[in-house]
Assembly symmetry: C2
Homo-oligomer: 339 residues x 2
DNA sequence: CTGAAAGCGCTTACAG
DNA sequence: CTGAAAGCGCTTACAG
């Protein structure tokens, strides 16, 4: 690659000192209009762009970068989340360094180290479950916000979803309709949302006086394909579940695909009970009634970024970790009724 | 925020010169093991992380950053694309600066300028249609790769989809089945994919000896909601279309939602013909047969990143813009047959 | 094997 | 209003 022109190149081209170029670029009014014009002309002629890294190095202020580590951008939920983060970041003139962890703590650790090395002003992380690397993080140096999930014992801000109540409401809706053998499909137990949603699920059973079946509780499904396999196994049990509760997008999709296959083969008797966390596209095309426990993922992103910016603006000495909880809403979809 | 420790802090703490710290951090073998240990201990004690920006500034090599500007991460297609880019970037030790343009050229322009200012080694852009700012880009300084869409007259690498043939095949499938009034829903005409897919669509009509209807050709739908409105307008025509061709994910979703509403209301007679670019989740739950023109979005991302890395490694003097075209495949979905 | 000096591209602080 | 000097945090190039 050809070397990019520097501020000194512009100064030479314009016949002024580097300081004058710097001043013009900074928009200072204290430069003769005549020189300003010269500088602008040279900038355009050389295609000069100020090196922001060098600039921030000298200024010692923020880099204007936020590091975002999410588990999987492939899940539309997280895409929404990122959009919310970007929205707030952009309005404050900041950009996003983005990386995915694929639920791999090792990768998450490297990503965070790398982000910090690149001088991000703060980190927004959807933690994948590991703890060690997060304990090494220094929130007094680089503020950290957990989005959607949290990790116990790490001093960081967090934007969470009201998982327990959401799951309670979703599961209760199924139990109220008479379902007694509700399968639970969740993430790995090291993920806080999975634990919290299971908690709400179990509380709902307790309050309904229904004994949950251990063998129907399956944690660890990461992708839609894995969830589909788990759902197929459950459906093949001697006593299959009469309802499904899924803690996210990917698990719901897996359940629906498993059910869809049975349905198409004419081997599904009666509509199953369905309660899922998170909305998804084409939900109106699902033939069976569904209860969706929804919340605004973009808002979770916005709040995460807002918390981070607040932390950055705050006095380090008085800062204490804050946690925000986003409420969920129950959405009753009738199903298109042809089942 | 508390100041982060610097290399000099580590040196003082360890009682060595900054150079020794630098050498240890660089993994040099020419440092006494004893001093190496001291340095590592100080690094751990202070929570020191090397400032990559300062490092790159001195080294004058690449920043290890790739700027990615996509139109809308909300569209799962682009999420896949980003995943492909990240995959290749990560393997070469690079990270992603990500921003969305929302099809706004002004925003795209600011994003690209900002990325260049932040010393990205290269840019991968899904262009939103504007040209001016791209003409100011200097590929000899910062290599540029267009992904999925291209812009005429800008010297850049490009990874495109075989839009013309894909659209030709999709439209031909509809015409072969006897559809004669095929609606076309595409992006704005300034978007290359939209133009190219329309071209294939029209060629298919020409070869089939069918006159396309101008009033059924609707360009400009950006979001699923907009597309749904357009589809509803088309369906309300005195002579509504008997088939729909959509050039992307968002337009397909809009068409399906419009049809779904009619269907649920019992006001849809006979299954409409459907041919769509791009796959989408829950496609098996659509009751009507569909032809999907699919390709591997992640591969488009991977190829874009690969082209960029090749360009970076190449001799600037001999570089010429390269363009790769990814083939499409026709997927015939039967529909679940209950319509 | 170790370190003092200089410089990457900028801006701050000081002179004039 | 303009500029020469110094420094941000690091590494290169030169000494020893």
């Amino acid at each position: 690659m050809k070397q990019s022109p520097t501020l000194v190149d512009v100064a030479k081209h314009a016949g002024v000192s580097p300081m004058t170029v710097s001043r013009v670029l900074a928009g200072s009014a204290h430069v003769r209009p005549e020189l300003q014009e010269k500088v602008h002309a040279s900038v355009a002629a050389l295609g000069y762009r100020r090196n922001e890294n060098a600039r921030h190095l000298r200024q010692g202020k923020g880099s204007g970068l936020i590091g975002v580590a999410i588990t999987n951008i492939d899940n539309p939920y997280y895409a929404e989340l990122v959009l919310g983060i970007e929205d707030v970041a952009r309005q404050s003139g900041r950009r996003l360094l983005l990386g995915t962890t694929q639920e791999d703590s090792e990768r998450e650790s490297r990503l965070i180290d790398d982000f910090i090395g690149r001088q991000v002003e703060g980190l927004i992380v959807v933690p994948s479950g590991g703890r060690g690397h997060l304990r090494r993080a220094r929130p007094e140096q680089t503020p950290l916000v957990f989005a959607s999930r949290t990790v116990a014992g790490i001093p960081a801000d967090a934007v969470l979803v009201d998982d327990v109540n959401g799951a309670y409401d979703g599961a209760t809706a199924l139990l109220t309709r008479g379902h007694r053998r509700v399968a639970f499909l969740g993430n790995s137990e090291s993920v806080s949302t999975s634990r919290r949603r299971l908690e709400g699920f179990l509380l709902a059973h307790e309050d309904a006086g229904v004994e949950p079946e251990q063998q129907l509780i399956r944690l660890g499904g990461q992708t839609a394909d894995q969830a589909q396999q788990i759902a197929e196994q459950l459906l093949a049990l001697p006593e299959p579940p009469d309802a499904f509760f899924a803690t996210n997008n990917r698990n719901s999709l897996g359940v629906l695909n498993a059910l869809g296959a049975l349905y198409a083969a004419g081997r599904l008797d009666g509509p199953p009970g369905l309660a899922f966390f998170d909305h998804f596209e084409l939900s109106d095309f699902v033939p069976w009634p569904m209860v969706l426990v929804v919340h605004d993922a973009r808002e979770v992103g916005r709040l995460s970024a807002q918390l981070l910016l607040d932390h950055l603006a705050a006095d380090a000495a008085t800062w204490l970790p804050r946690s925000v909880q986003v409420p969920t809403t129950l959405l009753h979809l009738p199903g298109h009724g042809l089942a």
